[in-house]
Amino acid sequence: MNKSIIKSCLSMTMVVAMTASLIACGTNGTSTDTKAADTQVADTTKVETKAPVKLTYPTYRVGTHASAAFEKEQLAKFNEKFGKEIEVVVEEIPSDTAYNDKLKILAASGDLPDVVMGKNGINEILIKGNLATPFNEYMDKDAEWKSEIGDAALASNTRDGKIWSISDQKQIVGYFYNKEMFEKAGIKPAETWDEFMTNCDKLKAAGFTPLAMMTGENAWTTNLLLAAIVGSSDAGNKFMNTLHPTSFETPEMVAGLKQIQVMLQKYTTKDALGAVYANAANNFCQSKAAIIANGPWMIGDFSDKTKSPEGFDKKVGISTYPGNGSFSTYEVGYMIGSKTQEAKDAAAKFIKYKTSIEGQSIALELGNVNPLSDKVQPSDAFKQKYPLFVETINVGNKSTLNYQVFDSLVFPNVTDAWKSLYPELAFDKATAEEIAKKLTDTSAKNK
């Protein structure tokens, strides 16, 4: 009796293991139609034509995220207008990293949500595996939507003729500086990089820490400086506008890294190494550093009394980078991950609303986000509240040099590698050349 129990246990074990692995292998990759269709049917509770189509939409724009306010408003307004036909099931994932991780798991399992935000390399994965639906068809049918996005934005997300994602914002980024500190040091925003460095010396002499830098997370503020330095020469500019560079070992990169090395060693706060965004932002807002490279979403913080002292917003100025350059890029935006035609159409409709004139206005007013279309202009109330934002638009218009941010150009594992590499550079454990080589090696590891 006992032996047979054990035997049946073992055979049951094997059966379960085999079935499980069969299921596992079966749902890998792209052959997911039947299974996905099942889940779709399971989602739409009743199979009647009157029930609204359900869209799954995970988002990280919640909590204290700068974009949380406009996300909420867009969703509310969409529900008002289209709630009866389309029900958006929101999944709140309050961390960008967690969002990326989860989406990768879903992609690997063939269970993509209907609406996906493609930044941080998610779009690459979807494009490579052909898991998303291009927008070409929708663009051809809807000239109005197409014009609201604009050709430039569409082109930035087109590969091999297919429009993989619809952008939702234009990023115009210069740098903010503390006008009071600049006055006391007797300087004005630099026009060349050499002048930028001597400005830093003068700030130091006047008793101020020049730069709010960070090497933690994605080394955002530091990388903006690096990109601006590299992008100010001709060859460098080409580099900073090319997707997925294979080699970082160019003279411009090395020179740029050397300059960053000096900045990290001499011109920044003591907690820059290992600092996360919160540290750098607070250092600037609390007047502990004179310059921070960052985008317009930060403007709201300057008048937010929990983040900055009263009247701080009047002290902040914005400037182009030396060489009259600025970052002018289009965000990756939204992609369609649905499987059924019905869901795809619904997803397209949802994305259309978010990127329409109305959607763009909401993002502008509530999130300080640069709209795609010129037809979207800030209201007068907005202009009064955030004069700095108007200056940002001027910066974008008057700059003659444009480049993209590193995060949009490199593979995600490179974005993850800066935090380990910058300390090596700052502590002289590696030279700029060696760091450039490590970047190249890391990039090669990406699959």
Partner: protein, 290 residues
């Protein structure tokens, strides 16, 4: 005793089922795909032992993370367990403060790894962190040592963040001590033994099993821990504080290289099995205390 075998199987069954559901599929996928080239969104392609070869010949990050993991396993299973046992023995004397101390010591273990990481990140911040501020109070003005990012102190700082784990050891040891029959203590005291001798000759030998268990749990926990590292140094500076679990996470979810990361995972398992077997041999676990 053959009639017991039925019951034995019955009692084992739920655990076997649980194990299958939660782990079996993962194991199969893990081992299977370690021999393939597989990244997110593509199908696995069989490539034989290429992944394993690469691990040992071409990957300096792997070697460093293996070294770091090894060192931390050693530290965690010796020093931390030692601290935990000593703490438990002291608390066993049940002096007035013992309940308070026991609770307080467990506090860092009660809160999630993410929270602990954030706590340490804040107090060790070079500019405004509590540690540096206190040191500045003592007169060393302008002290702004960057604990987590400075090459000299980074490894040590991360090691310190695991110190609270010893509280779990204390808790387990205390539970086991409670099981030791009072009469043993009585007779020892009647014989004139003092506290120290009681500790040495009676309690510690009876703790052989649980100390061995703690060593295993502590050591193998180093094969899984990555939340604190992720929150504080991310493996940096360079790869100074990189350990194997962190490296696996990075390869899987940053490099998108699932095939390779699963190969490292298989290696980790084999490494862990060897470790557990060594520990079991040292402590002769599994034999009752007679």
């Amino acid at each position: 005793m053959s009639k017991n075998k039925g019951y034995i199987s019955l009692f084992l069954l739920p655990t076997i089922v649980l194990f299958l559901i939660v782990y079996a599929v993962s194991l199969v996928v893990l081992v299977g795909t370690s021999f393939t080239e597989w990244s997110t969104g593509t199908k696995p392609i069989f490539i034989g032992i290429e992944n394993y070869v690469k691990m040992f010949t071409d990957d300096s990050d792997f070697r460093r993370s293996l070294l770091n993991t090894g060192i931390w396993i050693l530290l965690q299973s010796t020093i931390h367990v030692l601290i935990g046992v000593v703490f438990a023995l002291i608390l066993n004397m049940k002096q007035f403060y013992w309940k308070f101390a026991r609770t307080v010591y467990m506090v860092p273990n009660i809160i999630s790894g993410a929270a602990v990481g954030m706590l340490f990140l804040c107090i060790l911040n070079p500019e405004f962190g509590a540690v540096n501020s206190i040191i500045r109070l003592f007169g060393v003005s302008d002290f702004s040592q960057n604990w987590f990012m400075d090459y000299g102190t980074s490894f040590l700082s991360v090691t310190m963040t695991w110190l609270p784990y010893a509280a779990i050891v204390s808790m387990l040891v205390l539970a086991e001590i409670a099981a030791i029959s009072e009469s043993l203590f009585e007779s020892a005291r009647i014989d004139g033994a003092n506290e120290f001798q009681i500790n040495l000759h009676i309690i510690i030998p009876m703790l052989r099993n649980i100390i061995g268990t703690c060593v295993i749990l502590a050591g193998t926990s180093m094969l899984q821990k990555l939340d604190i590292i992720m929150m504080t140094t991310g493996g940096g500076p360079g790869n100074v504080t990189l350990n194997l679990p962190m490296y696996i996470y990075r390869t899987a979810l940053m490099d998108n290289n699932f095939g390779y990361s699963n190969a490292i995972g298989v290696f980790l398992i084999i490494f862990g099995i060897a470790l557990v077997m060594i520990y079991r041999g040292i402590f002769k676990i599994g034999k009752t205390n007679e």
